[in-house]
Structure formats: C-alpha cells, structure tokens
Amino acid sequence: MPESPTFEHMISPDPDAESIGQHRFYLNLGPQHPSTHGVLRIVLEMDGEYVIDPQPDLGFGHRMHEKMGESRSWTQFFANVGRMDYVNAIGFNHGYAALIERAAGIEVPRRAEYIRVITAELNRVASHLLWLGAFILDLGAFTPILYTFDDREDILDILEDITGSRLTYSYFRVGGVMKDIDDTFIERTRAFIRRLRERFSMYETLVNGNAILHKRMQGISVISPEMARRYGVTGAVLRASGIDYDVRKNAPYSVYPEFDFEVPVGKNGDCMDRYLVKYQEMEQSLRIIEQALDNLPDGDVRAKTKRKIKLPAGMTSFSVETARGELTYLLIGDGTDVPYRLKIRVPSYSNLSTMPELCAGMLLSDLVTTMGSFDLVIPEIDR
C-alpha cells in the first residue's frame, strides 16, 4: 500500500517551527461564497488551514440609505427601512415608525401597538427559522433547512395576507399600522404556534442533541462580557456571553412591558450558547404572540395624523430589538418634514466588527461556524 500523505504542516502551526510562514497565503472568502450569506468579502491571511488575520471588506451591497433619508420626506423613506434587514423587515419598520412618533409626539392606539408586537414577533420567528436552517447548513447538514423553510413559509403566508408582501414589509405607518388584522389571521397564527411547538420537539431530538453539532460549536469563538462591551455587541451574540440585555426589557418600548416573557441568556459566550439562546428565543416570541392575541384590545389601528409633519430641530433616538440585536435610529431634524440627518445603527455591523480579534488563530471551518452563529444579513450591514 502506498504511504498515506501527512498533513501535519497544515494542522499544527508551531510558533517555534522553522516552517512558520512557509505556508502563508491570502484567501478571499466571498463576496460570492454561500457561507457569507450575501455579498460579504473577507480577506483571510492564512497559515495552512489556520486563519491568521481575517479582515472583512464591506460595501458590496451599499445603497447609502442614510443619504436617501436626507433627500426625501420621512414618509417617503418608509419603503427603505424594510430593505435593509430584509429578513426582519418588520423590526426595522417598528423602529422607524416609533422614531417619527417620538419626534412628532404622536400617540399610537393600543390595538395598533398589539398588532405591531404580534407581527414583529412573527417576523422575528421567521428570521430565526431562516437562521436555524441556514446555520446548520453552514455546518454541513442539509436537511434541517428544508424543515425550517417549511415552517417559515407558514409565517410568510400569514403576514402576506395582512401586509401584502412576503419579505420587504412596509406594514407600519406613523401612528399605527396599515391594515387591521382579522379572525383568519388570528386563527392561522394560533394554528402556527401549535404547529411550531410540535416541531420544536423534533428539532430538539434531531438537531440540538446532535454530537457533531456540539463538537462544531462548543468552545468556538468565545466572546467574553468585557469584549462584548468593548465592541458594542448586542442581540443573541451578547446574551450568549451572559449579559442579560434585551432592548424589549432594558429600554422597554411599545407594549412589551405588558407581556410575560423571559430573555434567554447563555454563560460561555461560544457558538453553542449563541445557538441555544437564539433557539430558545423562538419559544419566547410565541409566548408574546399568544398573550397579545388573548388580550387584543378593540379600537382603531391608526391614529389620525397630519399629512405633513414637521420634525423639531435637534436629535431624537429610538432603539428596538430586532432579530439580530439593537437597532438604533438617530434622527436630526431642522424643523422641516425632511430629516437633516438620519443615522441607522444596525446590530450586525458592531457584531461582525469583533471578527479580526475573535477569529485570529482559528481554523477556517470554525470561522464559518462563527459567521453562521452571528446570523449576518449583509444588506443590513452595508445599508
């Protein structure tokens, strides 16, 4: 039998070895690579199979939304917000509508607030389901994404009925929502909650307990609480590090304080905890939706507002918890109906900025796991 080749040089970068540096090369991951989930390029300085210095290169999907925000009135800009994080468009709708309401001092009817929470949480579950399938696909398991897409399809159908879109929703309006929900919506949402809870037990048996999955995720790319704070990491990535920070609880908005739900928190800050935190968040979202449907108040779904609202001079900020973390809009008005400046702080931008420190020295395959655990949506980062 021929002697089998050895790959020792590829798997053990001994810092004292004379061979160090002999296997250095640059590798372009993306912008057209399936594991980046969009047009993200990462320039990797490699030594064998180890990543020495990963440097993300952004902007392939950049559309300058912030400039568009300054050149049209705040109502005209509404169509833009759902096109940043297209997987959680309603989260972006929520932040923007609430921002304008805060700046202009508009009260939202309670029924509208409840509908906002229901649709925002449905959209969060849809986003998490997409992530769940895609993340496991990144790790090499093909089947789960077929199941999660099937579940997510249900949510898209439900939301399509009332919003008119399946992905880039512009359902919220300043002062409420576009259209009231009906009995069919409520029935189908309740049926979906029952269905997803049944599926959870299957996911838990088939996926969460899988030994290979654990080996791929445990101890990989650990973010300490201190590091999370230095980078401004938010969302499930932060909560996996043991910090109990969720904008819905810590800086409550809308009617979230009226619902009983928990914020899942990890302790190790590795990919495994990020996975578990995000996975558990789906059940919490279902709990919120259930309570909101049970206590849905009657009344209008949209406050009467002036056609042209002038925004006061000065800064107004609004933060919401999207599926990926804290989204903050900062509006700087000048007394007209067009913002003087509109800053959009997106969660994945800060989360991904940890990569050069976090992923230096790890195996290339672990870098792919890390990116998957961050649940990146590139058009959100690029804006």
Partner: protein, 161 residues
Amino acid sequence: MTPENENLHQALSCLDIDFHETDYAAKGFHADIQVKNSADIREAAGILYEQDYFVGFVTACHTQPATQVLYQFARFDVNHRIMIRCGANENNSVPTISDIFHGADWHERETRDFFGITFDGHPNMAAFILDESDRDLAPLIKTEKKLKSVDDIFGREDADA
C-alpha cells in the same frame, strides 16, 4: 437629575463639557453632552469605559462652522443612553477612540467615508464601505444651500449662550 446622570456628570466634571439632562420619553436618550475641546474626547471615552458604557455608534452631522462628531453610549445593566457631541478641529479631525472602545473602529472608518473626517491615531483610515475610488466623495456633506449652522440644529431652547 437621575442617579446615573449625576454619577456621570460627576465623573466627567474634570473636562470642559456642557452637560444637559434630557427627557428620555421625548428624546430617546438621558443626557446630551457637548465636549467643547475635541482633544478631550479620548479622556471622556476612557471615563465612559470605566463607568461600564458600551459604544452604540459613532457618526457625524455636517453643520457650520464645524462638522459635529456624534457618539452614542449606553449601558447593559441599566437603561441609560447618552449622546456625546464634539466639533471637529480645524484640520477636520478628532482623536480616535478605537483603541478604548474597539467597536468604534468601524464606525470611525464609516464616518471617514461619509464625511471626510479623519480620526487621529486610528490605525487604518482606508476606504471601508465606499470604494477606494470614492475616497473623497464624502456623500453626506451638505451643499452650501442646504448647510445649516450648528446652533440651528443642535441649539437648545434653554441654552444660555
């Protein structure tokens, strides 16, 4: 003043600042702090780091006479969010805080792309979101017709000067 604002005001009192408590329900942040001398921004960031803040974002707003660099900080443990504002100096630059809050690194590069402001001491000011060929584009710089003064935009009703 809220206890958090009082603590922070106390901690920052060594710097030349203008500290204003704001109504959170109306503005979305608890304090609006103007750092008068851009050289102090590093010291302010160091104090905020010690006080358990995280950096939300760094951005800017083009006004006359100087472009205003804006920082948002918040805390994980309590609901406390602040805005810090500081005018760029005569070289259109401010010191970097990216070595204190590493998360500011990318935000400062983005601000360089959009406004042409440089961050002194930043290790890498190469084009980031925009292409290298658009390095001097500074798309968020206002035309002369649209440019407003810093007092028109950030002036407060209760400002004394």
